[in-house]
Amino acid sequence: MRIIVCIKQILDPRGLTVNRKAEKVFVNREEYLIDPASKAALEAAESFKGANAEVIAISIGPARVDEALREAMARGADRSILIRSDEPLDAFVVANLLAAAIDKIGDVDLVLCGDRSLDTACGEVAPRLAEALNLPSILNAAKIEIKEDSLTATVRQSGFLNVESKLPAVVAIMAEAFTGKHASAWRLIDAYKKWSVETWSTSDFGLSAEDLHPLATKKEVAFPPERQFGTQVKNAKELMMMLKRERIMSNE
């Protein structure tokens, strides 16, 4: 069985200071990490390795993403592929590239993604990728099991429910499913000393200029108003309104 895990590398928010007053994001420490949801996806993939699964990690981005893919190998991936791109990409182009890479790899039974990344949380790549590959997609999954040619996933709605799909399929794993397991240090060192990250180019797939052109672009960053510390609130009702306004309660 061949499993693809799509990895996103993000800037570690612990190294950031957001100054709302100055309207600036200060990067105190520029460190990158594998997005927690991608980590959860890797962990889910690794659990099938006993069942003779080949796990391939793919990511798209600049040279620094190499580090994330080496960690992916330390976390169980057998191969890793970096599609090099220094351009800002949107989920449309990312899905097109991943789909093309997955087609090129061939014989893929399962594609795992992180459900929502810690940074932009847009959650678009998995369903877009499923669409591009014409596969079913299962989002918000906490756990998956594979039985022959089908899979059962436990997904979160208001509670949890089980869903079933034939393979191949695209499944987005939620960050909360990650158990906190650490990478193997032996594999981590092998990932640097013994194994390599295959580097592919965005032009390797014969995609059209249209397929490589982002349809959503970042214009600028903006900031919430400065926090008003000590703002007096009269009662629970008013507090609830404030929490709603701040969207603290919107994801119920």
């Binding site: 650490h182 193997s184 240090a185 981590l188 640097y192």
Partner: protein, 393 residues
Amino acid sequence: MDFELSREHEAFRKLMREFAEEEVCPVARKADRTGEPALDVIRKAGEIGLLGAAYPREYGGLGLGETGLCVLMEELGKIDTSFTTMIGAHSGIGTAPIYLGGSQAIKEKYLPDLCSGKKIAAFALTEPQAGSDAASIKLRATREGDSYILDGSKMWITNGPIANVMSILAITDPALGARGGATAFVIDTRQNGSLADGFTPGKPEHKMGLHSSPTSTLNFDNFRVPRENILGQEGLGFVVMMQTLDLGRVSLGAATLGGAQAALQQSMEYAALREQFGRPLAHNQSIQFMIADMAAEVEALRSLVYRTAWLVDSGKPFTKEAGICKLLGSEIASRCIDRAVQIHGALGYSRDFHIERGYRDGRITEIFEGTNEIQRILIAEQMFREVGVKIRP
């Protein structure tokens, strides 16, 4: 000149930091209070391969050399000195004599289990009458056919109550004494989960700090060691142990670097938040000076420690630098943690707070693995040697 760690060392540092923060940090306070060593955490560290940082892959290690061990000790040193001490005694000085002096068969027998934490090592040199004066050891090893019989005791042995494997120095020729008559062995102190015949560890010592790092005496009574367990050459065990201590001083320097760095970091964050007289502590010059002094010392120590590790890994002489790592590292850590206590005021004196634990725990680093007085003598000896003068008999 290149001051950057290799990519694999950097990746290892990230993993090590994650492990220290997520696994060691949450249990450290409780372990200090109860005195229970965090054996589960050691097991976890071993399972993912962290404990073999310094040793080659063919023996189950990571092949990251002394630099790798320094990374490990620095990241642990930031979090908890008790845990760091256990790991230092295990991964560093407990295992190193086997690697340095063991035969191929002995290395293959012991190193993989030590690298993966299935077994825990200790370094057994000190005796009641032989602390800094290590050459005065008395523990006797008597030849009997293909074995040696150990009789006597060791003292202040880190991991004594928990180790299954020990590197130990014993006198095989009393006429020659430590120099020429001492032999190093690797011994199994536990078999099938119970104590090996002829071995009894003492009760864990009550110490000022390092509460969760058990230290004890070791008693040997008619304890049998096969001859193939000799580390290095018969009669030349002192050399293996001294080489090991040299290495240990470098990684101990790294551990103190971590401790000093953590004290600095904690102090900065607290000084920025704590307000007195209507402004953060950080706005006071007296505090700023303390922070600046800590930063200066930490930076100097970092350069020293990693340069020394580089000397080790490049096969260059490093005895003098190792002594300086231990001397400067322990004193810088003590100064930094002392300033951190001062900056935190009464809170720094609170038992609930890890700075207080660090203060108690850190003091030992000026004492163990060769007191700082001994370090100064060794450093001076090396210095005078450079101008052709011998200052020790």
